[in-house]
Amino acid sequence: MSKVGQPEKMIVNGKRLDGRELEQFRPITVEVSVLKRAEGSAVFKFGDTYALAAVFGPRTMHPRHMQDPQKAILRCRYAMAPFSTNERIRPGVSRRNVEISKVLNDALSNVVFFEDYPKTGIDVFVEILQADASTRCAGLNAASLALVEAGVPVKDMISSCSVGKVDGQLVLDIGGDEDQFGDVDMATATIGSEDKFVLLQLDGIVTQEEFFKLLELARKGCTEIYERQKNTFKEKYKAGEVSVES
């Protein structure tokens, strides 16, 4: 039986509910240095999904017993604003938030040079201001941009996108009703455009063959995101005050 509010068809004549092609992103917006107090900050949007990230540190780690004399500690916190969804989200820590914070933290930890800053903590705060699916991907992209903007030494950026299966078809960038009524939702992230997956979460039933195709599609998507992330910095610093390597 279909769920309440489920549209009959999500893909008509190869077009999705919002008019997109199967392998097309929603409009992407990227902006860095959007906040004054944070050392690094960024906004990343997939259509109506609106993620804001801020980085503080490296700074003295509190509580002190959590300090590591050899290296810095990364602490990533993902949270959603109460007004970000149709039904208000109760403020506070949910199990979902804790889990997503953990996987984002693990993903980002692949690229940070922790040994450069012993005894410190690097705090990454991800706020989802509006949620329309793929929030962890938008949040991770924003977080990675904010880390770079904060001047934290990293090997590369983390680039993230979602893929999935809707109406039996494989699609890029799950958005809107596709999240709730689609068959499969898969969040992925790679180190830059490399074949190194640092985030991979899948919900829903797929055959192995379909899954392999999803992986391929995810690689393409993450590569596209990586280009957008790089271009953001190239644009911002093209005046030549600070040089950024491509």
């Binding site: 804790v98 790679t190 997956f197 991979l200 192995q208």
Partner: protein, 256 residues
């Protein structure tokens, strides 16, 4: 001290060996017992080598979610009980316990193995709520697979109590929880470029990354969770899915 042991584990793995002399695709000895807790509607004990997990299923009656008014509700919770490890503290579930519960939850939920519509008592008002509680009693690695196996085993053996005049008559049963698939979670661990399954605690402490893949009876994938600081290449992920499907079939035979 831990470091030395980690290096030793990695050195062995590089040479194609494991500290407990298992093959890379070999589980530890698995022991499963069902109906170990009489007060629960269903229960299972899983021993994976020295890892020991107890899972209990309890049913209660409550309101359905507004977007699925005719379906029962599934709730999975995991407790890393302090008896299980010197590193577990009493208190509310930490991120590891939450991840464990959510991975087990997704494996079961996404496989759609529970016929939730049969758990509706009065549409929009009253449905059965299935609480699966995972109690980790001894932690020697691979809690994910042990817990997921315990959860589906307990579900397969769970009864629905009689419900009369707004009261649940615990201990008097009306039938089984309708289950039509057996999702099995297999965690593939990457250690020094090698892939292996069922890591013990020492291996887990040294791992680069892990990926938990749940598969159903048809050999389809129904949930994936990558964990740990480290990455997987496409080829490694593909190999991991093969391992999960093959090993999933083996484990399924133990409980069905």
């Amino acid at each position: 001290m831990l470091k030395a042991s980690e290096n030793y584990v990695r050195k062995l793995i590089d040479e194609g060996m494991r500290i407990d002399e298992r093959k890379f695709d070999e589980f530890r000895k698995i022991k499963i017992e069902t109906n170990v807790i009489k007060k629960a509607e269903g229960s299972a004990r899983v021993l994976l080598g020295n890892t020991h997990v107890l899972v209990g299923v309890k049913l209660s009656v409550g309101e359905p979610f507004p977007d699925s008014p005719n379906e029962g509700v599934l709730i999975v919770n995991a407790e890393l009980v302090p008896v299980a490890s010197p590193t577990f503290d009493p208190g509310p579930p930490d991120e590891n316990a939450i991840e464990l519960a959510r991975v087990v939850d997704r494996g079961i939920r996404e496989s759609k193995c529970i016929d939730l519509e049969k758990l509706c008592i009065e549409e929009g008002k009253k449905v059965w709520i299935i609480n699966i509680d995972i109690h980790v009693l001894d932690h020697d690695g691979n809690l994910m697979d042990a817990s997921a196996l315990g959860a589906i085993t307990a579900l397969l053996n769970s009864n629905i109590p009689k419900y009369e005049n707004e009261k649940i008559m615990y201990g008097v049963y009306e039938g089984k929880i309708p289950i039509n698939d057996t999702p099995i979670a297999i965690t593939v661990t990457k250690l020094s470029t090698k892939l292996l399954i069922d890591p013990n605690l020492e291996e887990e402490n040294a791992l680069d990354a892990r990926i938990t893949i749940s598969t159903n009876e048809k050999g389809e994938i129904c949930a994936i969770q990558k964990g740990g600081i480290g990455f997987f290449t496409t080829d490694e992920i593909k190999e991991a899915t093969n391992l999960s499907i093959v090993k999933g079939k083996e484990l399924r035979k133990l409980i069905k």
